[in-house]
């Protein structure tokens, strides 16, 4: 990036989201620079996951704007009004944003390699050989080259989640969203997934990670954002937010999590 002020990878302004009549995200501002890793912390029900799902338009926001690499994900701006995009256009923009879910959500009727090849071939119209070759390299990178022909259910949770990361990466995204990627894992399997994410961060990937892994946030994050009850309580470097929290809510949360 040679520009003085590069376009932010993610720029959220005043994001509001209702579920029915329940306001779960109450005006969030967030900026993520290219190559930056942001960890979202906060108690369950604080709106972190909902906000994350708004970024790739899996959830429609009710007010505010979210731009990814300068573009609105679900809308087009025209004469000061927002026009909802068609299914195909939303899909095209989503294809640039990788997402990893708490429950892995691998496609159970496809082998590991077929999971990786599906979207590049169906969405990008790549030829199968190219997508397979890149997929195999990614599987090697996450340490699962020998599982290419296995079905997801025969893998452990940690292995499944590493496949899910590789599947998202095979679309060559410019941004990765992680929605509590280690929360469904047995404690001894958390490390292998965090290792893959650490490796990815070191590689310069822009990432937003919703997590409860405070140690991971302290080590890997450039910015830690603490959310509670649908708003950002405080945000800053890990040293600031985790080492010297300014708000009572942040302090009591950290005290509970770290005890």
């Amino acid at each position: 990036m040679s520009d003085a002020a590069p376009t932010p990878m993610v720029e959220a302004r005043g994001v509001h989201k209702y579920y029915g009549s329940n306001l779960v995200v109450k005006g969030i501002d967030l900026t993520v620079a290219p190559g930056e890793v942001t960890c979202l912390l906060g108690p369950s029900g604080s709106g972190k996951s909902t906000f994350l799902r708004c970024i790739n338009h899996l959830e429609k926001i009710n007010a505010g704007t979210i731009r990814v690499a300068g573009e609105l994900v679900g809308y087009r701006e025209h004469n000061g009004r927002l026009h909802e995009l068609r299914d195909a256009e939303i899909a095209q923009r989503r294809s640039e944003i990788g997402m990893v879910f708490q429950q892995f959500n691998l496609f159970p009727h496809m082998t590991v390699l077929e999971n990786l090849v599906e979207a590049p071939v169906q969405v990008r119209r790549e030829d199968t050989a190219t997508a397979r070759e890149r997929g195999l390299r990614l599987l090697e990178r996450v340490g699962l080259a020998d599982k290419a022909d296995a079905y997801p259910r025969s893998l452990s949770g940690g292995q499944q989640q590493r496949v899910a990361v590789a599947r998202a990466l095979n679309m060559r995204p410019k941004l990765m969203l992680f929605d509590e990627p280690t929360s469904a894992l047995d404690p001894e399997l958390v490390g292998e997934v965090l290792d893959v994410m650490r490796d990815l961060a070191a590689d310069g990937m822009s990432m937003i990670v919703v997590t409860h892994e405070i140690a991971f946030a302290r080590e890997v994050a450039d910015t830690v954002t603490f959310m509670d009850d649908g708003v950002v309580v405080e945000s800053g470097s890990p040293a600031q937010v985790l080492g010297d929290p300014q708000h009572q809510r942040t302090r009591s949360f950290l005290a509970k999590v770290l005890s």
Partner: protein, 325 residues
């Protein structure tokens, strides 16, 4: 106690010299039931074989009759076409029911309610007599210019009436089966596919439908078997199906019972073949699902000879080899 080895828990099924003999409960009820069934079976078989009115030679002789075989072909063809039409309508109606547009959802609901709520026999006769309701079928503006006009009596042949009746009715039942299948797919699968940039149609075709198939296939097999027998209703609108064929024959030679046996043998034979086919199709759609992967027919038979081993679903923290494929 003078045992040389510590008394380890004996493995199930193995009997060591040390353990006391086990006397199973005497199940007198089983013996009585078995005796009753054997006696009844023998008596039934005896009467079937000795009662000359069955006329087995006639019943078996007509199995290869040209008219009967042609009827069987019509029955099979009708079953196939009605099921294809039914499945296509079923998928459309299931998607309609799930539509966010309330008018579309309501229309699909109305379709299912109507066709499930009236007897198939009535529907068949109704389609057959459509000409009485609409002598001329037209497409165009009411009391204005018409695109084309067709004589209902020539368009709605008995065969078209039969396909309409069976197919539209089956569509109503299939839509419920398809809907249950679609609802069985984890919403997380749709999230994952959409997050990868797949369009809604791609998500449906590539991700949702293949997984829904596991739930859709078994009842669809049952529907097919049921449809094979249901097609016999079309004999009332003079379609030369296999039942109509034997009816024509026995109205000439009065061998009613033997010919009904002939047709029953054919129905039984085809339903048996369909059941076996269903078994293999179900296995095909269980790919990747260890929990539901049941042993093959052969393995089931073998399991009577070797100790029964059943694979346990792997726990979340339990790496297992993908050795199933």
């Amino acid at each position: 106690m003078t045992t040389a080895t510590p008394p380890a828990a004996p493995a199930a099924g193995t009997v060591t010299g040390e353990s006391p003999q086990v006397v199973p409960v005497r199940r007198y009820g089983h013996w009585v039931a078995t005796a009753v069934i054997v006696v009844a079976g023998v008596l039934l078989l005896w009467s079937v074989l000795t009662n000359p009115n069955f006329e087995w030679d006639v019943a078996l002789g007509y199995l290869g009759n040209g008219q009967v075989l042609h009827g069987l072909l019509v029955t099979l063809m009708l079953t196939l076409v009605a099921m294809v039409v039914g499945c296509a309508i079923g998928v459309v109606m299931a998607l309609g029911r799930e539509s966010r547009n309330p008018v579309v959802a309501g229309a699909a609901f109305g379709y299912v309610a109507f066709f499930r709520g009236t007897p198939l026999l009535v529907q068949l006769i109704f389609w057959f007599n459509l000409a009485a309701l609409y002598p001329v079928l037209t497409l165009g503006i009411p009391s204005g210019p018409h695109l084309f006009e067709l004589d209902a009596n020539t368009v709605i042949t008995p065969m078209v009436a039969a396909i309409l009746g069976l197919g539209l009715n089956e569509g109503a039942y299939m839509s419920e089966i398809v809907r249950a299948g679609l609802q069985s797919v984890d919403p997380g699968q749709i999230d994952a596919a959409e997050a990868l940039g797949m369009r809604k149609s791609q998500v449906f075709r590539r991700i949702v439908l293949p997984q829904a198939m596991r739930v859709i296939i078994p009842p669809t097999g049952n529907q097919t078997i049921s449809m094979l027998k249901t097609t016999s209703l079309v004999s009332v609108i003079a379609i030369p199906d296999v039942l109509f064929a034997v009816q024509t024959i026995y109205s000439r030679n009065f061998q009613v019972v033997p010919l009904l046996i002939t047709v029953s043998i054919w129905y039984l034979a085809v339903t048996t073949v369909l059941s076996i086919g269903q078994h293999f199709v179900e296995r095909r759609f269980r790919r990747g699902d260890n929990r539901l992967q049941e042993p093959s027919l052969l393995a089931t038979v073998r399991s009577g000879l070797v100790p029964w081993r059943r694979s346990r679903p792997p726990g979340p923290g339990e790496p297992t080899e993908g050795s199933r494929r």
